[in-house]
């Protein structure tokens, strides 16, 4: 009887202990993913259903951004272009092996990148490869990429987080295996539960500091924060700013505010009166107090933008100041023939939770310049179909992309997503010049001129680029403080 009691109490105790110490097992880094829409169900980086939290650790790109945002080597060690930047030659790293033991060579590069263009796959990354017409295998570790246009910043496009190298011919199985050349190897793949990654001891940058990585599916945002608090995961890169206080001053957690290139904005259609007059558009944009929006809407966690979509950390960003100027705004409105100001309706929705708040602050700010703005709510589920690019004034949001893509995709006169219907020959010419210019300083000048044109004429008011709140357990060491796609995962350690 006594023995039985002892047995029960010992086993109970050990169960309790195993609960409290299970999370502290050294060498395992636990992170979460949100399952996404359509369930993130595969490990094929170029498909819409890719579980990127896994592929960024198991597969490499040719090039990546270093900690300062410059293109640096990964599986490519050197690259150069011909005189008009239409042909790019990449030298590949030698002696790199895939997780299945096969060698990484030029055929794999050709296969991995050309399959992005396959219409049957319908990859969302297709755009990044659209200028590539052919990839020629020069020798086992050299490839030549041929473009249909001059593109001086082509290597920057190849830093796209989806353009990862997989073994040639593995397209049918990659979704399940996730095989690559990366620091971690897929041990067990379970999108809805826990995916287990094991260290790749032969990783070409050196063996990883972590023995295992667990990637756990947790769809609910609140549950993810709770999992972080209870130590069930070690990192959450999507903590809402309203919950910053929970972690501030807690020695168990490290809180960092990482600037991003993601932005929110208000679009005025440049083909619709009164916004077809550039003076009216500029008047509206001048009447905005951007710093106040950053403080009121984002609690200070954003970087003021002067209507440029180019990220704060991007080397091509035009640096300028744009304080609220009510006097000048009124003057411009008068010149444009609206001495008594204008009326406008700003369409918002809860698709983006901050839109309605931005709308209300704008309403107050614009009123000072005699602009009477009404904020109108529209259904969030049909926002992109029925409000955006349809109503004269509507809110928008974009995620970070390289300067060239951001300027082309949103403002080029021929762009599908030219949401403000912006057409300016000077702007288009600057972009074309930049693409063909191999001299960095001249290229930067062209991109900055394009952004100057936006400040003078564009219909899109971009008040700020948002920052991201990243909370990690203080046990996690050597995690680069950059966007998730540039982190060097093999360096990460855990106590």
């Amino acid at each position: 009887m006594k023995n039985t009691f002892r047995l029960i109490s010992v086993s109970l105790l050990s169960i309790l202990l195993s609960f409290s110490f299970a999370n502290a097992s050294s060498g395992t880094f636990k992170i979460s993913h949100d399952l996404g829409f359509g369930k993130d169900t595969n490990l094929d980086a170029i498909t819409k259903g890719r579980l990127f939290q896994v592929v960024i650790m198991t597969q490499n790109r040719l090039v990546r951004k270093d900690l300062k945002g410059k293109v640096s080597e990964e599986l490519a060690t050197k690259w150069s272009a011909n005189a008009d930047a239409t042909e790019w030659t990449f030298n590949l790293r030698k002696g790199v092996k895939f997780h299945d033991g096969s060698d990484f060579d030029a055929e794999d590069v050709k296969y991995s990148l050309m399959r992005v263009k396959d219409p049957d796959i319908g990859s969302p990354a297709k755009k990044s490869m659209s200028s590539v017409t052919d990839i020629e295998v020069v020798d086992s570790h050299t490839v030549k990429m041929k473009l249909n246009t001059s593109f001086a910043d082509f290597p920057l496009l190849l830093t796209d987080y989806r353009l990862r190298m997989i073994p040639s011919g593995s397209g049918d199985t990659i979704g399940k295996t996730g095989i690559g050349t990366g620091p971690f190897i897929v041990d067990k793949f379970d999108a809805e539960g826990t995916t287990i990654l094991k260290a790749n001891p032969n990783y070409w940058e050196g063996a990883p500091g972590l023995a295992e990585v667990h990637v756990i599916g947790i769809p609910d945002g609140e549950a993810r924060v709770q999992a972080l608090l209870t130590g069930q995961i070690h990192m959450n890169r999507y903590v809402p700013f309203s919950q910053k206080k929970i972690f501030d001053g807690n020695s168990k957690f490290d809180v960092s505010v990482v600037p991003t290139g993601n932005w929110r904005g208000m679009v005025m259609r440049t083909d619709t009166a009164p916004f077809d007059n550039p003076k009216v558009r500029k008047a509206v944009r001048l009447a905005v107090d951007r710093q106040e929006l950053v403080d009121l809407v984002m609690g200070g966690a954003a970087t003021v933008a002067c209507d440029t979509p180019v990220a704060p950390s991007d080397q091509y960003r035009l640096k300028m100041k744009c304080p609220q100027d009510i006097k000048k705004a009124k003057k411009l409105l008068k010149e444009a023939g609206y001495p008594n100001g204008i009326d406008m309706v700003i369409h918002v929705s809860t698709k983006e939770p901050t839109w309605p708040t931005i709308g209300e602050v704008l309403q107050q700010q614009l009123a000072e310049a005699g602009i009477k703005a009404e904020v109108k709510m529209t259904p969030s589920k049909s926002y992109w179909n029925e409000t955006w690019m349809k109503k004269p004034v509507a809110m928008t949001r974009w995620n970070e992309r390289p300067a060239d893509s951001a300027l082309h995709e949103i403002y080029h006169s021929g762009a599908k997503w030219n949401e403000s219907y912006f057409k300016n020959p000077d702007f288009d010419k600057n972009l074309a010049d930049a693409r063909g210019e191999l001299n960095f300083n001249k290229r930067r000048k062209a991109y900055r001129n394009a952004q100057k044109t936006l400040w003078e004429e564009s219909g899109t008011m971009i008040p700020y680029h948002v920052s991201k709140l990243v909370v990690t357990s203080s046990k996690v060491k050597n995690l680069d403080e950059v966007e998730v796609f540039s982190v060097r995962w093999h360096k990460v350690n855990i106590d």
Binding site: G38, A223, L229, T230, S382, W384
Partner: protein, 318 residues
């Protein structure tokens, strides 16, 4: 009796039909659909058409409803729009997981509720009643999402005794699930137990005040013999219906609790599929939840009928 059962089953089927219609129309009138949700900004032109084609959303609504209904009658819920998986396969493990959660809550909740209800009734207005009643009323008034969050805060974050949220795949075995469901079960059974305990209490008090119990007391029947032989059998009979209603209510409580604890069951699936506009899954879930609701009520009614001869004879006379 036989006809009564048949009649009730038919009524139940009609209820299910109406539920399926309401769900279908409800999801249909919401702005946006599975394709616009999935494609976001790319939702126009050829991509949108192709998506409609692929998911069969280009057919008129009534045609989609009819073909779906025929499938369900054959036991096939079709394919989910988002995951493009067979719904039967998606649902299987989730139904099991939710059943584990619900049955654990019921197995713990009902005996505790009976015990508490009887104690509070027999010691009415005395100290045990005052303490227990205060606690039950208190836990009745706190919604599960608050009690669940408080439980995580206290037990998982401060005391670090149990894992905060559930991290197991849907296919996890029951033994893998059990250590994870302690907190969710407490959160779910708190309100349910409190409700049932209050019902049992008033039912017992009512019977205790009835003439035949007073008579038994006057005749000198020993107190505990009277309680067990005369009071409880009569008091607990009406409680069966209350228990059935509470179990049906449990389905809603399970939804909220599963989301808070990240539990891979039906509840989490309900929330996910609604926000994904995954109409086939929403419909399948509505039908399943409604069938559980209807059948629990049916079983409760039949049990009351069988256990209470007076009701049976009344029905036959009619």
């Amino acid at each position: 009796m036989f006809f009564l059962v048949i009649k009730r089953i038919l009524l139940g089927l009609i209820t299910l039909f109406i539920v399926s219609l309401i769900t279908f129309v409800g999801v249909e009138v919401l702005p946006g659909d599975a394709c616009t949700t999935y494609l976001e900004r790319q939702a126009f032109g050829a991509a949108l058409e192709a998506c409609y084609e692929r998911l069969g959303l280009n057919l008129p609504a009534y045609e989609r409803y009819i073909s779906w209904a025929i499938g369900v009658l054959q036991g096939d819920f079709g394919y989910s729009l988002s995951g493009e998986m067979k719904i039967n396969e998606v649902l299987g493990p989730k139904v099991k997981n939710s059943m584990v959660l619900a049955s654990a809550s019921i197995l713990i909740g009902i005996p505790v509720a009976l015990l508490l209800g009887i104690i509070t009734a027999l010691w009415r207005d005395k100290l045990p009643d005052i303490i227990i009643s205060t606690v039950t009323i208190f836990s009745m008034t706190i919604p599960e999402f608050i009690s669940a969050t408080l439980l995580i805060l206290i037990v998982a974050i401060w005391l670090e005794w149990l894992p905060g949220i559930v991290i197991v795949p849907s296919e996890a075995s029951i033994s893998e699930l059990l250590p994870n469901i302690i907190l969710p079960v407490i959160a779910i059974s708190m309100i349910m137990t409190a409700h049932m305990a209050r019902m049992v209490r008033s039912s017992v008090i009512q019977v205790m005040a009835s003439d035949y119990v007073q008579m038994a007391i006057l005749k000198g029947v020993p107190y505990w013999k009277m309680v067990f032989k005369h009071v409880l059998p009569n008091a607990l009979l009406p409680a069966i219906n209350v228990v059935a209603l509470t179990i049906a209510w449990l389905l809603g409580g399970v939804v909220v609790t599963e989301v808070v604890f990240n539990y891979p069951g039906l509840g989490r699936l309900v929330i996910e599929s609604i926000s994904n506009r995954d109409l086939p899954v929403v419909q399948a879930l509505a039908i399943i939840l409604a069938s559980i609701y209807v059948s629990i009520n049916l079983i409760a009614d039949l049990m009351t009928l069988m256990l209470n001869p007076r009701l049976k004879s009344l029905q036959i006379k009619k």
